[in-house]
Amino acid sequence: MIGGIDPALLISALMVASVPILLAAIGELVVERAGVLNLGVEGMMIMGAVCGFIMAVQTGSALLGFVGGALGGAALSLIFALLTQVLLANQVASGLALTLFGLGLSSLIGQSFVGIRPPSTGTVPFGPLADIPFLGRVLFRHDWVVYASVALVAATWWMLKATRMGLILRAVGESHDAAHALGYKVRKIRVLAILFGGAMAGLGGAYVSLVRVPQWTDGITAGAGWIALAIVVFASWRPWRALVGAYLFGGITVLQLNLQAAGARIPVEYLSMSPYLITIIVLVIMSSGRGKASLNAPASLGKNFHASR
């Protein structure tokens, strides 16, 4: 016990609390690596939350619910892909419009699903492993999505680092003109990245409505999508750092509430702004410390590509 708080419980709580922002951040990370800035994460998350919820309630299966959530998020991101990749609209404005639209549409779709309990998502049975002191409680008592989110981080890391697909994706994000000259289909790759980002945000949203809360109410994601955007920056576009970032952001909230519950007096506002301050400091150190190359920000981020230029 440290300061009246059991670290095992704290870590296990923050792992669960961080899942939605982690999933959404990993998706956005891939999108940004492809050179696209989609500020509509919040909109896609909430679409995922509502679609996942409806699917789960209708089919009685939480697993299908997550599939539905991913599809819902991807479907909304398709609008963004159409606007920015085909119609060459500005990415910042399109992303903001996407959030506005997603919040409205989700509420319309979800009207008749308010107040229902969804089917529950099972805990993975680890048998005796779950009884290991400390580690058992930290690692082996979660639902499967917690493990899936970490697996997705690993898969994304591997995909970006070790596969041809990842190489092409990064090339497109660094210089779409050069990638185009090399014969890669810039637009197609970016559309696929955007769809992946939408699906991941949708999964994150579905985790909120199916596991974290679990219920559908309007505005249920309450700004988680914006935090996911901050995490991508914190992570300097690297998957494992996104995991650290998500656990840090999620962890500060959990820690803050735990300290309160344990009776410690802390200035809540200052603690909750600290992750953002840390992110800015990290950004500054990265961008100044070892020159620009180490910043790792995709060079074409936010710029539209038109082949004849």
Binding site: I116, V213, T217, D218, A224, L257, N258, A262, E269
Partner: protein, 363 residues
């Protein structure tokens, strides 16, 4: 002011079109309008107000027409929405959030023939502004009793929204009644600093549970704390807040506080119809049916249930006040002497914990 007269005349004309202005002789038809701070699908605060509004149509049928607007921010937009409602011929406008206090009074000055009803505020600057609120602390007393009897760890928790008198009042009432039946009880308070953020509410509940708390009361609007308690397989219980949250029966939801605004809305619109409407400052509770105690489930032993119901009936009958002395403040100074009952003024400005609660109210 030329503009003001113009608006007022327009309003008067419309009022007449809808069946006579709201004067002493009553009206044939009332248009009642509602301004909501959240969506009607929030299943909490706004949802309950909207249920009250729907009850008006149920009760008066064709004599009442309702109109409402959701998600109105508490600031510049509220004033515009109120003015537009007034211009559209509403006879009575209910503004259902504390933050609408100033806009309500400002707009009321321009439309003296329209009645304004502001929930949870204290400003009545014009004769056509009334305020209304509910004595939620009465329900908290019953929850506290159940909590004190039911806790096995002797740790009970409370998820607070913002450190305002209404919430502090609830915390004090909850703690006093738990302490009364269980002198060893300890209270942990977590401030979520939000009215509605399901994920954060779930985290707050989790933090309390991790601290060994096994009874949680919440002053935020979603069902997330109950859902979190449900994951403990019956080890932790909680209460429905604002709405009944019956989906979580019989456990973890062992009872609930239901905000029932229908009796007040039906009464006020009825008074407007029959001409007996007057400005009021209403603070009603269990006796008037404005605060309801949702069914106490079988997860609570029969004797505890009977005691809780007896307390509810005593409050309803007016024979018991949850804040009856002797009660000391947190610092040990005397607040209420033996047998004294808390004056409403003390409650409405309550900014201190009672003796026995540890920690400070955030400043």
């Amino acid at each position: 002011m030329k503009r003001r007269t113009l608006l007022a005349t327009a309003a008067l004309g419309l009022g007449l079109a809808f069946g006579g202005s709201a004067s002493a002789q009553g009206m044939d038809k009332v248009k009642a309008c509602f301004v909501y701070v959240g969506p009607i699908g929030d299943l909490g605060w706004t949802y309950q107000h909207h249920q009250g509004a729907l009850e008006l149509v149920e009760t008066y049928g064709d004599k009442v027409e309702i109109a409402f607007q959701e998600n109105v921010p508490e600031g510049a937009d509220a004033e515009r929405v109120l003015t537009q409602m007034a211009l559209s011929g509403c006879n009575i406008i209910f503004t259902t959030s504390f933050g609408y206090m100033d806009p309500t009074n400002t707009v009321a000055a321009k439309f003296p023939d329209i009645k304004f009803e502001h929930a949870t505020g204290y400003k009545r600057e014009h004769p056509n502004v009334s305020t209304y609120n509910a004595r939620f602390y009465e329900g908290r007393a019953i929850q506290g009793h159940i909590a004190g009897k039911m806790t096995k760890t002797n740790k009970i928790g409370y998820i607070g929204s913002f450190p305002i008198p209404e919430v502090v009042m609830g915390i004090n009432s909850y703690y006093l009644h738990a302490k009364k039946v269980n002198p060893d009880v300890e209270l942990s308070v977590v401030w979520a600093f939000t009215w509605f953020d399901p994920a954060k509410e779930a985290d707050s509940a989790k933090a309390l549970i991790d601290q060994g708390v096994d009874v949680i009361a919440s002053h935020t609007d979603s069902t997330a704390p109950l859902a979190e308690a449900a994951k403990t397989n019956g080890a932790v219980i909680g209460f429905g807040q604002a709405s009944d949250m019956a989906d979580y029966k019989p456990s973890p939801r062992v009872s609930s506080i239901i905000d029932n605004w229908a009796p007040y809305y039906v009464k006020r619109v009825g008074q407007l119809l029959d001409g007996t409407y007057e400005q009021v400052d209403s603070w009603a509770g269990i006796p008037e049916g404005e605060v309801e105690i949702g069914e106490i489930t079988d997860a609570v032993p029969a004797d505890v249930k009977a005691e809780a119901e007896a307390m509810r009936d005593a409050i309803a009958a007016g024979t018991y006040h949850p804040f009856t002395g002797p009660i000391n403040k947190q610092d040990g100074s005397v607040w209420l002497a033996e047998g004294a009952v808390a004056p409403d003024g003390d409650l409405l400005g309550m900014n201190f914990y009672v003796e026995g609660i540890s920690g400070d109210i955030p400043k």
